[in-house]
């Protein structure tokens, strides 16, 4: 009997010690701020650092203003260096059909980045990060849309859940808002006489979490697969602000849904251009996204360093 109690206490002590040395579990978790789980959005970036991978992201863009149509297959990888700091890699393979021109295929260049989690506020379901992305010139096929110059993009991403609204507004508590504010600075003023303007990208996602509704507000008895569904609308605009391109804003609005499981999520959205400069018709995007911290908690799903 004494031995059993001793073993149990020893087991508790060992677990406590293990947790003490890895007490950044909340930071390890992908997209949690208190009671709120933020899914990885498709058009806009997540406001959290994480071990995660999107593969594939299949995008059929609306018809562009020049009549071309692009099918893209992309992938994004994010790996934690420390619990609050990660690096990112992304690329996209494109198939572009343009009337009267031969079809072009190829990679559109490599983007690398580094992100730092500025804060996570559990009580107010809020989080934010700062990042610097670099889209490298000459790392893809120019004819398939890859840039011949490098672009630097300082970024601020934020997320806010509305679970802290008063009890008198229960049905609004599952709402959350995430957003990106990004400046793009090309390192080359013009390419073959065509100006490369600096631009401001601003994108937002408005989400309504059915899991949050059912586990925190009211269980309506919604069953699988809808109980893991997060309907959302994403929209993003890019506004050049120099080199003669000011005012030529382009963007898309993307209503859709994300189904968030235990180890992965899938999402699909329609792509609707905001103006004729952004194209016409409707496109679509589908994404399969993996939570590496849940899939591989003891290897690639952990930060390289616990520092």
């Amino acid at each position: 009997m004494h031995s059993a109690i001793y073993d149990w206490r020893w087991a508790q002590f060992a677990l406590a010690a293990a947790l003490t040395t890895t007490q950044i579990d909340d930071a390890l978790a992908h997209g949690f701020a208190g009671d709120r789980f933020f899914p990885a959005t498709i058009l806009t970036d997540d406001p959290f650092v994480a071990d995660e991978m999107s593969l594939p992201t299949v995008t059929l863009d609306p018809t562009a203003s020049d009549g071309s149509r692009e099918l893209g297959i992309g992938s994004d990888l994010s790996m934690l260096i420390t619990p609050n700091w990660d690096f990112t890699l992304s690329t996209n393979w494109a198939h572009i059909r343009t009337p009267g021109v031969s079809t072009q295929t190829g990679f559109q260049g490599l983007t690398t980045g580094t992100q730092y989690q500025l804060f996570i506020n559990a009580e107010h379901e809020a989080m934010a990060l700062a990042a610097l992305d670099v889209t490298w010139g000459n790392t893809g096929k120019l004819a398939a849309g890859a840039p011949g110059f490098t672009t630097l993009s300082p970024t601020f991403d934020f997320g806010k859940g509305f679970g802290d609204l008063p009890d008198s507004l229960p049905w609004l508590r599952p709402f959350a808002l995430t957003g990106n504010l990004v400046f793009n600075f090309p390192t080359e003023v013009e390419t073959q006489g065509v100006p490369n303007p600096s631009s401001f990208f601003y994108g937002f996602a408005v989400e309504y979490s059915i899991p949050y509704l059912q586990s925190q507000v009211k269980d309506l008895g919604i069953g699988p697969p809808f109980n893991r569904m997060i309907p959302l609308v994403e929209f993003a605009l890019t506004s050049p602000f120099n080199r003669g391109q000011s005012g030529m804003t382009t963007g898309t609005v993307q209503p859709g849904f994300i189904w968030a499981g235990q180890y992965f999520q899938v999402g699909a959205e329609m792509i609707i251009p905001t103006n004729s400069l952004s194209g016409h018709g409707i496109g679509g995007v589908f994404q399969f996204h993996m939570y590496l911290d849940d899939l591989f908690p003891n290897s690639i799903g952990r930060p390289i360093s616990q520092w």
């Binding site: 293990a18 978790a29 295929t105 009211k218 235990q262 399969f288 591989f296 908690p297």
Partner: protein
């Protein structure tokens, strides 16, 4: 044709990564509870029972129940069911009609933490 092959290859790779993962655990989400989240019940329950999507670590999983004034009304620490480690129970004192808040903190067996809270009401 090439693009179809690219899509299939990417899907196969994603599937291989997911299915090739070792036996995995993940974050414990609240699946359902009794009394149900946000419900109104006619009589005072003796316990609050919660079912999670993952097995829980008993030593580091907690739940408290408070009344509208913030007073604790649970009758002791929450207990993970040894036969079903996804089930968490907390015994209650004798409750009067009113609104109550359940706050939980769950640690799944692979040390991922999740938190949450919900209310239920007992009819007058």
């Amino acid at each position: 044709m090439v693009n179809h092959r690219m899509i299939v290859a990417a899907a196969v790779l994603a599937g291989a990564v997911t299915l090739g993962a070792p036996t995995v655990q993940a974050h414990a989400f609240l699946d359902h509870a009794s009394p149900a989240v946000g419900s109104t019940v006619p009589t005072a329950p003796e316990t609050v029972t919660m079912w999670f999507t993952q097995q829980l670590e008993p030593a580091f999983t907690t739940a408290t129940v408070t009344d509208a004034s913030g007073n604790t009304v649970d009758a002791g620490p929450a207990q993970v069911d040894p036969k079903d480690p996804t089930e968490l129970r907390v015994a209650l004192k004798k409750l009067s009609p009113g609104a109550y808040t359940v706050s939980w903190h769950a640690l799944s067996v692979d040390t991922h933490t999740t938190t949450g809270h919900f209310t239920f009401e007992i009819k007058p």
